[in-house]
Structures are given as structure tokens and as C-alpha cells.
Symmetry: C2
Subunit: 209 residues, 2 copies
DNA sequence: TAATCTCGTGAACGGCGGTTCACGAGAAGG
DNA sequence: CCTTCTCGTGAACCGCCGTTCACGAGATTA
């Protein structure tokens, strides 16, 4: 052969890996299975990645890239705060449905003890969204649109908490069942759920005019 | 010997197990380590529990009992809705600090594929809090204290999401770091955090008077 | 006291999964 | 066409972990 793995093959490997990790979690995912699902031998996996941990990090990085791209859209465009919240909520749900593995992998590193590398990656992406939200909340504050007495740090923490649980609720099996349990017939009505969340977040964060 | 393991020993085993599972997660926790930390042999663990899964379920059940006991306090006492929210927030944080392993084990089953038994346990406790919160929100609605247009199902989902993230933020290592990242100097000020969350939840859920 | 029973012990087993490495297929170079 | 080099292959290795079971220490019983 002397053919290095093609570009597409390398991408495929990362995709197969992400799927495996997202489905089974880090520990239960097996390098052998990943290799065979990607149609390569285990050996080559270790030619490209030092070990399971490094491979996981690569999959994670690949996944998180999509997420952080999305993040930049959040502050773009000139809309009212209320509209922006609604846009973000919709984007979060839409993103969830399009990239379930990203959220699942994110959730995965949330538990378990991971390598420095994985830690660092997660912290980096977390740092991006933290800063994005805090900047946004600070801007709201300065425009006197944030609720009285609420400080931007707490507001962005609160806001991201809500988004994170929303994403988990749409992707992680356990949280999905929980969502059904809580929402009942609202489970299938994304539109109405967004409307409800909107009203609550609005009331929580924005000054009454 | 012919001494059955003493009552205290049995309790100690569950505690050691819970700690181990909470710290390392189900997969990385080792039956041998648990046995040796509890000062018994592996064999006896298998005399009392059929396998690792069953032992995990027992630890989980032991932990969740504490949680569901706490739950009943939530609706007790005659206080205003605002006061009740504040009480629950404080209780959540206090509980987190007192029983870190409970939250961590709960978080653990949230990921990974678990046995029917573990699933069932989690669903049961989830069911209790879901019902508790929904009943409470329904009561608020009927008393005309819930915000206009908000339906109890969505409100209780939202509320529990906030509480859950709060608990994770105080116990699960990853979320704890994230909390520090978001809150900055507010990280050490529980009182102020509760005050801030209070204001936001109040605004999100309760009718303005 | 001798026989029997109970129950904790921990070495041993089996299997699995991450990781390695000797191999060989085939491209490149002469 | 032969040599050399590249790089994917997958059997083999190793360590770990859940699980088992033959054993024996001590309690019970007769």
C-alpha cells in the first residue's frame, strides 16, 4: 500500500470514535471495536494516536470545534435581548438534534477522571462560553437591561446552567427520560417548551419595562 | 468466627462502596479495592451481593434514601413561596456539602449504561422529586401565585434543572471548576449566590405583585 | 470431645482490553 | 528486476478485574 490513510479515512476514524465514546462512555468504549468499525486494524490507531486517552482527546477536540464555532454566532446580529435569548434556546435545541455526540461526549468528560489534555480542552471550551455569556450579560447590565441587583457573573452562570441542562435533556438518555417525566405531553412540543423557557428566563434576567 | 458481619460492618461496607463509586465512577471502581478498604475479603462481598452491579445498586439505594427523606421536608411548614424557594436553595447547598457522595453517585448513573435495578432506583427518586415539584407548582398556580402563562410542568422542569446544576456545581469536580470559572469571586460566597439565584428564580416563576 | 456446620478467606481462573511488534504487502528508487 | 523503505496488520502479550471455590478457623451440637 504505502498509502497513508486518506484524509477521509482519518475523519471517519474520528467520527466512529466519537460515536463509540458518546454511546458507551470512555471506559466501556473499546479501541478494538472502534478500529474494526472504522475498517482498520488496531495497530494503525496506535500509529496515529499514542494511546486511548490521546485518541479520546482528539475525538473530543473534533467535536468541540463544532460547538465553539456555533458559539460565535451567539453575539452576532442586532436583535433585542429577548429575541437573542430565544435564538439561543432554539439554536441549543437544534444543535442538540444535529450533533448528539458532541453533547454526549461533553457530558462524558463531566464524569470520570480524565487526562490533563481532556481537562484542558473542556476548560477551554467552557472558558469560551463563560466569557461569551458574561460579556453579553455585562453589556446588558451596562445598557441597563439586566434586572436590578443581578450581577453578570451570577446571571451567566444561571443562564448557562439552564442551557446545559436543556442540551443534556435532549441528548443524554437518562436526562431525556427525566424530561419526559417532568414535561408529560409537553415532551414533544419543542415550540411550546421554548416559549415557556423564554418567559422564565426573561423574568429571571431582564429588567421589567 | 461464625460471626456474621456486624451491622456496623455492613453499613461501613456500603459507605466505603459509595465513596469508591462516587470518586472513581462505576467502571474504575474495583471490588477488590472496596473490599480491602472495608477490611474484608472480596469473597464476602459476593456472599452478600450477587455481583458488582447489585452491590452498586445497594450503595445507590443507601445514598438515595437520604435524598428522598430530605425531599419530604420541602413541602412542610407554612411559608411564603419566596421563602420556600430560598429554603430549598439553602437546603440543596447544605445537603451537597454534607453528602457529597449522594450527588456524585446520582451523577454517575446519569452517564453510562446501568442495570435495570439502578435505572429503576434513579427513576423512582426522580419521580418523587418530579411529583413534589409539580404538585407545588400546581398549588402555586391554583393560588394564582405562579407567573401568568407558565404551566406547572415547565416550571417544575426548569426549577429542578436549576437545583440539579447547583448540586452538581458543588460536588462534581468538573462542575465545581466550572462554577469557579463563571462566578469568580462569588465562588466563595454562598450567601450572595443564593440571594442572586433567589432573585432570578423569583422573577422566573412568581407572579409580580 | 468429636462431629458438624457456618461463613469469611484469598489464591486462582477466565476473559477482556489496551498496547506492542514482527511481519509482509506494495510503492519507490536504482 | 531487485532492494529498500513505508506503513498497515493482527496475533500475542500483559495486567487488571470480576467472580469462584476449596479451605479452615471457630462456633454449635450431641
Amino acid at each position: 500500500m504505502l498509502q497513508k490513510l486518506s484524509e477521509e479515512k482519518l475523519i471517519e476514524i474520528l467520527e466512529v470514535g466519537s460515536r463509540e465514546f458518546a454511546e458507551k462512555g470512555f471506559d466501556k468504549a473499546s479501541m478494538k471495536t472502534i478500529a474494526s468499525n472504522a475498517g482498520i486494524s488496531v495497530g494503525v490507531l496506535y500509529k496515529y494516536y499514542a494511546n486511548k486517552d490521546a485518541f479520546f482527546s482528539a475525538c473530543l477536540e473534533d467535536s468541540l470545534k463544532v460547538l465553539s464555532d456555533k458559539m460565535e454566532e451567539f453575539l452576532a446580529g442586532n436583535v433585542t435581548p429577548r429575541q437573542r435569548i430565544e435564538l439561543i434556546l432554539c439554536a441549543a435545541i437544534e444543535f442538540s438534534k444535529k450533533h448528539p455526540n458532541v453533547i454526549r461526549m461533553y457530558h462524558e468528560i463531566t464524569s470520570g477522571s480524565f487526562s490533563e489534555k481532556a481537562r484542558e480542552l473542556a476548560t477551554r471550551i467552557e472558558g469560551i462560553s463563560a466569557k461569551t455569556y458574561r460579556d453579553y450579560m455585562t453589556a446588558l447590565k451596562e445598557a441597563n437591561l439586566l434586572k436590578e441587583d443581578i450581577i453578570p457573573e451570577a446571571a451567566s452562570f444561571f443562564f448557562d446552567n439552564c442551557l446545559m441542562m436543556l442540551q443534556f435533556s435532549y441528548n443524554v438518555e437518562y436526562f431525556d427520560e427525566r424530561r419526559k417525566l417532568y414535561l408529560g405531553k409537553l415532551y414533544d412540543d419543542d415550540k411550546e417548551l421554548v416559549r415557556q423557557l423564554m418567559m422564565m428566563l426573561d423574568g429571571a434576567l431582564l429588567r421589567r419595562d
